[in-house]
Symmetry: D2
Subunit: 333 residues, 4 copies
Amino acid sequence: MIAILKPGATEEQISHLSQWLQRMNLKVHLSEGQDVTVMSLIGDTSRVDMELLGSLDIVERVQRVSEPYKQANRKFHPRDSIIDCGGVRIGGGYFAMIAGPCSIETEEQIIGVAQAVKESGADILRGGAFKPRTSPYAFQGLGADGLKLLLKAKEATGMPIVTELMNINHLDLFADVDVIQIGARNMQNFDLLKEIGRTNKPILLKRGLANSLQELLMSAEYIMSEGNENVILCERGIRTFETATRNTLDLSAVSQLHEMTHLPVVVDPSHATGKSALVPSMACAAVACGADGIMIEVHNNPAKALCDGAQSLTPAQFDTVSRRVHKIREAVR
Amino acid sequence: MIAILKPGATEEQISHLSQWLQRMNLKVHLSEGQDVTVMSLIGDTSRVDMELLGSLDIVERVQRVSEPYKQANRKFHPRDSIIDCGGVRIGGGYFAMIAGPCSIETEEQIIGVAQAVKESGADILRGGAFKPRTSPYAFQGLGADGLKLLLKAKEATGMPIVTELMNINHLDLFADVDVIQIGARNMQNFDLLKEIGRTNKPILLKRGLANSLQELLMSAEYIMSEGNENVILCERGIRTFETATRNTLDLSAVSQLHEMTHLPVVVDPSHATGKSALVPSMACAAVACGADGIMIEVHNNPAKALCDGAQSLTPAQFDTVSRRVHKIREAVR
Amino acid sequence: MIAILKPGATEEQISHLSQWLQRMNLKVHLSEGQDVTVMSLIGDTSRVDMELLGSLDIVERVQRVSEPYKQANRKFHPRDSIIDCGGVRIGGGYFAMIAGPCSIETEEQIIGVAQAVKESGADILRGGAFKPRTSPYAFQGLGADGLKLLLKAKEATGMPIVTELMNINHLDLFADVDVIQIGARNMQNFDLLKEIGRTNKPILLKRGLANSLQELLMSAEYIMSEGNENVILCERGIRTFETATRNTLDLSAVSQLHEMTHLPVVVDPSHATGKSALVPSMACAAVACGADGIMIEVHNNPAKALCDGAQSLTPAQFDTVSRRVHKIREAVR
Amino acid sequence: MIAILKPGATEEQISHLSQWLQRMNLKVHLSEGQDVTVMSLIGDTSRVDMELLGSLDIVERVQRVSEPYKQANRKFHPRDSIIDCGGVRIGGGYFAMIAGPCSIETEEQIIGVAQAVKESGADILRGGAFKPRTSPYAFQGLGADGLKLLLKAKEATGMPIVTELMNINHLDLFADVDVIQIGARNMQNFDLLKEIGRTNKPILLKRGLANSLQELLMSAEYIMSEGNENVILCERGIRTFETATRNTLDLSAVSQLHEMTHLPVVVDPSHATGKSALVPSMACAAVACGADGIMIEVHNNPAKALCDGAQSLTPAQFDTVSRRVHKIREAVR
């Protein structure tokens, strides 16, 4: 951590600050320039409050030089993490295709889609039971009944399942769910993160619409610091000024995260673009830049889907995407 | 609601779509141009799924022409709402000054700050007991113990209090809290919104860092649709590309919200800017453009505050701001 | 174009507005709902001033339903445009690899890089002579002398060349340049766009850092409306809140633009990410999602490059990228 | 400037880098921590290429600790600059009201508006002759003829005038213009900035839609480094995800710029919001937070304005705003 001191700081003030920092077991180095004096803090600065330090009279600005995330940091854990999701592995060279409908509607629908996507090469089944919706008047998912239907589809096809948890009090219902999804809007619901950190289930953690990659890793850190290291990160588009697509899919996040962390990174092109016509090309792009998995919405009758129909593929379209994705996987190896 | 149809749509397809919409009790008008045909849907479209409609083969795009929020909409409720916060009114010409420390630390601290800000004209005391922090390693607030200290300060000064609720299971602890704050990160924690919608307490709803004004009103709608109409909106800065300030305070949101809704709008310049030096001028600007209240962080020893010290004013600085704010209130009347 | 009228609009006002619009050769259809009346304008609305219409007393909001770009619009020109760049074709299935240094420095450097990238499969040579730099104190390029060195490299290798034009008065110097690049900062330098619209040279038009895809097409329209239809669009990253990468590469723009326009779309991963470590994966992703070309910075000694060294590849790295790109091209065909 | 070195850097590499930097007349201090080594560069680092340094093998990241702007920097010029605009002073306690139509249309119009706004207290007349428009099909201003009409209005009223220069070749036409405006889209048209830097006219430099405050100051620096120190900065809204207003007016930029620079800061609420209903409140807010001037669009018949009518006030509305603004000026003194 670096503190840039204000031009007028007196020697006494600087020495006072140094002593205070040294009492926190930090070493302090000073580099005095003409216009600016820089104080370097050496040691474990992860607990130093940057804003507090920055608020002191003689301090102009504070900058971190080491990352505030520890357990998620590739520097301290150079090898890729491989997460076991009910028998399907993700990360460290293992690639998984996650597919299924936005919302679970009927037994026939979820089992039908599950069988279709499995045949086309999907590894994990997704389906929403509890749905976060901007409007209180929109369909909110089948809830606990939806979960039961999803478990039936798991039984019928043998596929592991992933579905979203929104409420800390619903955790018991997720006992047989293989992967718990935390949605973009809950990426900083810290109490929820701590709670799932106390389970040992794989967590699919989606990046918030306006959250930086560092914040995403800090949220992973919340889960990991409670003991659960099975975190899979998911890029699903960020909010920008562009309105032609629903969000802006940030694919450079995949490579950038691979440099920052050992955790696997999955891409969700369906929610990012909000348009089924763009999903196949974005799925291909995600694979080409090294994503450890992709997550695609598939519906057996997109025109009648109760939510997010505009971004779902038909099983036939998914089959085509799946073939292309595997060809690209081979090309980039 | 308007559906713009694709150039190649056949008469049969259009008639089919019209019938489907009419079965949803909507009237359908067609305007056929050279390049484009526009279908207007008339009636209660708040339950029509725009994305579903937009996903149909013959539909190019769907646009809302009426707002999806109803109870928060000024069109259906032209008079300003006035919210009673433990005896202090906000909205409809009533202005309130909310002040207090970021985090509650000790009994001495919270009572000391409360007395100081009351003397300088503050109407409501704020103080954080449960703190949402990006890092799991940062101070997370005193929790339930902090709430008790805040209640002591309420008793000692007679000021109503506002504090943040992060966890649906903590609601019982808030029985004697006058105003429940929902933080920016929880603006779309829909289960939490529904839960507090079933209370009758005033809710201070903060705008999310990347949420549009319409989304803010949809979140207010979640609370109101459960029966609780006591919602106060709070602008606290949005996330943009600019890094000179922590966030970008969107003051035009104040006037724009006043056009869209009858709910009062409060501004929090402390969190928006993250710099105490900018708080006084932004507080003055907020009042000048018609905010129904301002919320300011005050600490008796900012340099030692456990969190967000950089953005807190001293009681003396707050006193100066308070005087200026009142002068401007008179000037803009 | 759709005008949404305010609830209180009288019949007389509406009839008055209708007549005014009809005098502009537009047909007017009215759809009256309970809360809202929608006026559809049919005919050539490209010259109607939306903001003027929106400013009228009885108008609440105006929305376009057809696109304001005509010559760039795929609807009126369904087949892909193929642009001939000094013998190299881009678009309509033709793919081009553009490579070269950020800045031209010496004859030896530019010819050396040109030969290297040609050997690795590059089709067009890039190199900056006039450099837009944020700081007046930074190296601004060799200018006219740099152009001469670039022309020598063209002669030595037979490769067509692309370089940036910043100043309307430099156009004469570009007589032997094959493709004129318009940088992101000049995307809305309208006088410059009109001027190059009067040449018949291929134009590589880079998207501005905060410009929507529609605005990019409107800038293409400026060039095309002056007679020059040889426009190649270039996605090079947009400005968002994320700071881990220099900009956010918006790859969904490639597919989205392919739906909106017949013009070819090229991707520049070097400027978008600002980090050489991310360039290979983003180049692969661009090809996988259908880009008509990629543009990559290559320097024979990146550690000594006078500008933007951090984002340049070595010739050896470029060679590896080139091979991968061609494998992916085959996989996605 | 600070260079953070990678964990694996050898002593030899570090010593090699130190020597290279010392040859650039910089002193080098090293602070070695467990995970990270920090190299502080002391001396004139304004010419060091951060990206080049950052691209070196052993360097992880480079951070500036002193600002790259010098002449605009308040640190080296603590007193407020006061700019004389044809007899009207701006900055250092002097406040100016700039008003007039978006586009100059007729002699009658511009003189009429000029007289009206002068009577209501405006100090400087604005009016557009050359108009930057997103669409090539929209009205582009009267050009040189418009300038002549504006000069007539100057003569008729005695008011200094400000108008936008878009094209480097039009500079001669601006001989009698008091203040040259550089529009948001040209904030980084560096050749244009250098050219006006060689005049001694006051420059009203508008912030680009996606430009940081530091970039705004770097553009001011371009003008100042050529010898012209008469720069007035103008905040006119930035581009964000919010669509309820045309742009997001960043009023905290006013106070933040006042800390960073000695140059005056003017606010343009008309272009920022794009809605006349929001202009009065944003004008009041701008004054309350210390803006050195405001710039407001006024049209004698907004409903018929050829461009940007939606954001113009009538003279009567301007008169009301002007009174309120002066009251607030007194309140905040």
